[in-house]
Symmetry: D2
């Protein structure tokens, strides 16, 4: 145990009140945690304060006040900024915990980890699988790695935020696990897309294919959620294709480092790149479906 | 309606009492159907007769007695033999229905279909998705195609044999739908296998990967069933790899006919071929996992 | 030696006076062979007769007159027709040789081989590598297989028709060798095409790439002939893409039979299929280059 | 013209007397250039001095004395060291030219380029295609990029060192061009290897395949040089597989940046990675041939 025992739920800091961070901090409050929040645009804190949160003026102020602080920032540059900028996390991190749940690359995570440890703080990376709805429902999957004692300290909070959390060892393993999962997801999306096109072009009803798949051993939530929209050529971005392709690229690079040959993932990655070359990078990653279609002579 | 109305459940013929056929005919009897069975080795009929079935001496005799006859044979040559041999189905098919639920190629199916129609009979192909356990539990998925009126006639039996049946149009579409589903399944297996190897070689626990996948949107029964055995390098054949590879090849050939480019399925097919070249064709199709592994210096 | 020695060049039959056959029969005449020709449209023989050839009224008549007969037909159905039709090759083949230099599939070749042998004749398949220009220049490459003694008998003619001939063993090996060569050619075309697009999109001059390649160890006649036209998006059909894709498919099928995994050829095949789906099947096989290009926003 | 005219051949500096540098500096001397050499191990200069060269004590001393200086170092760290270390190139580069012919990555090249320009010097990257033999024979292919005036200044030397030099525009283009060429080469090697295995497994003589290929439009020096050794499973390293795979990876990354989909190169890259996983990284890149082979039951 890093910290002394407490009979009441401890004060948790929370940095970043975007779509995810807002839902997560509300969940913590609802389950009786005392939460001190900070957001770059401070007015965004008002709604959370109305639900019982305190506000910190700066990341440093939040860290100083709390046993540990959770961050949920939008991207690597925001994640770096709250740590390294003036009035940032580093200023009061000595003896405190910092749990970064943002999705960042391994380099960013290592940089933050080293700086915090050098200042006498404790670090845990904890990227999540799941987006807005699971965040609101406390159904995220949490892929934590780094300081084991801090993971155990944060478990009561993780139990509220997610349906399951994993401790994966050293810093970097959280990000790697997410890449592996997303790589499998990307290859599966291509398998699905090719099957839909094959059905269509072979005179089968693609809608019936979805029904049959749903009864098969390969039935899964992604096919169910994305399939009907794909049949309508509708690719409203839940997870943008360019981000999926970036994750495929990073997973292939991880394989390259470790001499793992992955021909199916490589073929899927090239299809995503083809989709990017067709200008589809900002659509949902299911838009890779367009690459498997023949020329539409009617368009 | 092909046949006159009946107030009682009609007599159904059933040819082939292998693992699948036995389970299916028992289900029909249990649900009150009158069933007349035939099997090449007639002694195999005894158990079914004890449950209330009649026996026909030949396929022709069964067909003559029943409104329609279901066949569940082991392979194309058995399927052809019961139809075309002496005392075969063709002899009394005029005005009767024949439902072939065996898994055969499109050519075999067409040959049987044409011969039966030429003799004045009605034909339905109805391959199934699912093996022994779903057959026993009446949980098959039935992919029917051919004579629509016969499909409707057979629906009460299909409702007993399967959890769902589909009517897919002209003869051949049942086989094609099965190929599309199996192609998606084969690509998914490769995606899964590559992910497991990448996790292992990157210092992550592959067991934890299975747990994480099971909580993700891509969670599916196949990963759950096959994953733990794959981690043990155990590939006891539920669906032999050489058959999965044959289905990938046929699906790719179907794509070739229709000018559908399927790079991910093609890469997956080459991995299955690699597995065959390593002598793994008779193991379960999950043995393709071996192709993604690096050299084991201990062996 | 199948036949008795002769001090003068023997009489050779020649069936088929299309682009290839005409050039080849003229070469034989120029080198002192006595040639008896036949063509479905007999008037096409006139030009060859003017150069010294005799005419046979039917394939049977040609075969009867000559020690051995060469055929150069346009496709499998023509190749079968001259053999099996009334007044065809089979009628007088007993004790004679038949050299089919047409490009046909292995099945057609086997069918002809068996029929000729059953009638007491000798058979050699001898497909060629090279088209009009090499045919005119006597620079074909001849891939012969079947009756070895007939191969040796035909060598003086092969020496006139080609720069090199190979005897490859049993019937079918000629066709297989051609498939292997065309498969390598198809993968190389894709490698070349991808490189051109990568150069263009990376800000390099694709024309300079051609110059650099021409000085490298990979420099080859195909790149030199096709490259400049590809940079102009010009794909005038020397070897139609749909035929190249068919050869890739057959080579992959040959690999499937023999459990040879060929991931690069499989990826190349899918690119050719993509090109077919874009309506490019009748253009030159270098038109696969279109599949590697990004969306042209100007079109 | 950067420099004033001279009626005699100017003094050229030369840094690095490894296998390549030694051959190149000797060629310059033989063609009448005055050359001042430097090597980290100075004793290596003796042989060149015996042929008429002068020696500089440090890179800075060489640069100070000559109009421009050529470097041919073994790797990026050596290339950086001679420029940035004490007594390095930067100390006297103001107004002088620096031609780096080492094979380095784009980052290293940019770093050197910027430092030299910041000090008032002129920079040209000029990686070469070709190894020891072409270096000795003055038959290199030179891929230059950067300062155009310096390229023109160095042309008389390039004419001696290579059979052809190209000016490719801005710094980085030399390295990119080399990647594109090596990517095509790597895909071709896989196409070749797959063809050899297909021939072998289909009952054809792989030696005859080499002969046939040599007469085809795809005939090239690489197939001729590598083929016979590959049939002997002999992969003595001319260009190590791990370096070829690194170039494939970098070429694919270049494609990723520019949204170029390259499925054939991606499949080839995975085969090279497979070869690395089998422990073949230090052999010649033709050792990728091992990945296309089936299990050898005799071993």
């Amino acid at each position: 145990m890093l910290f002394e025992e407490e009979s009441i739920k401890m004060e948790i800091g929370f940095l970043g009140l975007g779509i995810m961070g807002k839902a997560m901090s509300i969940n913590l409050l609802r389950h009786g945690f005392k939460v001190t929040v900070w957001n770059r645009t401070l007015s965004k804190c008002d709604e959370i304060v109305a639900l019982g949160a305190s506000v910190g003026e700066t990341p440093a102020a939040v860290v100083k006040k709390c046993k540990y602080t959770i961050a949920m920032l939008s991207d690597p540059s925001a994640a770096l900024s709250v740590v390294f900028d003036k009035d940032g996390v580093l200023e009061h991190i000595n003896g405190k915990g910092y749990v970064d749940m943002s999705t960042v690359d391994a380099n960013t995570s290592s940089k933050i980890s080293e700086a915090i440890k050098a200042k006498g703080g404790y670090f845990l990376e904890a990227p999540v699988s799941g987006s807005k709805k699971p965040a609101e429902d406390g159904q995220l999957v949490i892929l934590a790695a780094g300081e084991k004692a801090l993971y155990e300290e944060a478990l009561p909070a993780f139990d509220v935020l997610g349906k399951k959390s994993f401790f994966l060892g050293e810093v970097g393993n959280g990000a790697k696990m997410k890449l592996v999962v997303n790589m499998i997801m990307g290859s599966m999306m291509n398998a699905f897309s090719e099957g839909i096109t094959l059905a269509e072009r072979s005179g089968l009803s693609p809608g019936t294919l979805l029904d049959v798949l749903d009864l098969a051993a390969v039935s899964n939530a992604m096919f169910k959620m994305k399939g009907p929209a794909m049949l309508q050529n509708s690719y409203s971005p839940a997870f943008p294709l360019k981000h999926q392709q970036k994750d495929m690229r990073l997973a292939l690079a991880l394989g390259d480092e470790n001499a793992v040959s992955m021909p199916v993932a490589a073929a899927a990655n090239e299809a995503f790149k083809k989709a990017r070359s067709l200008g589809l990078g900002d659509l949902d990653f299911s838009a890779v479906h367009e690459t498997s279609k023949p020329l539409d002579h009617s368009s």
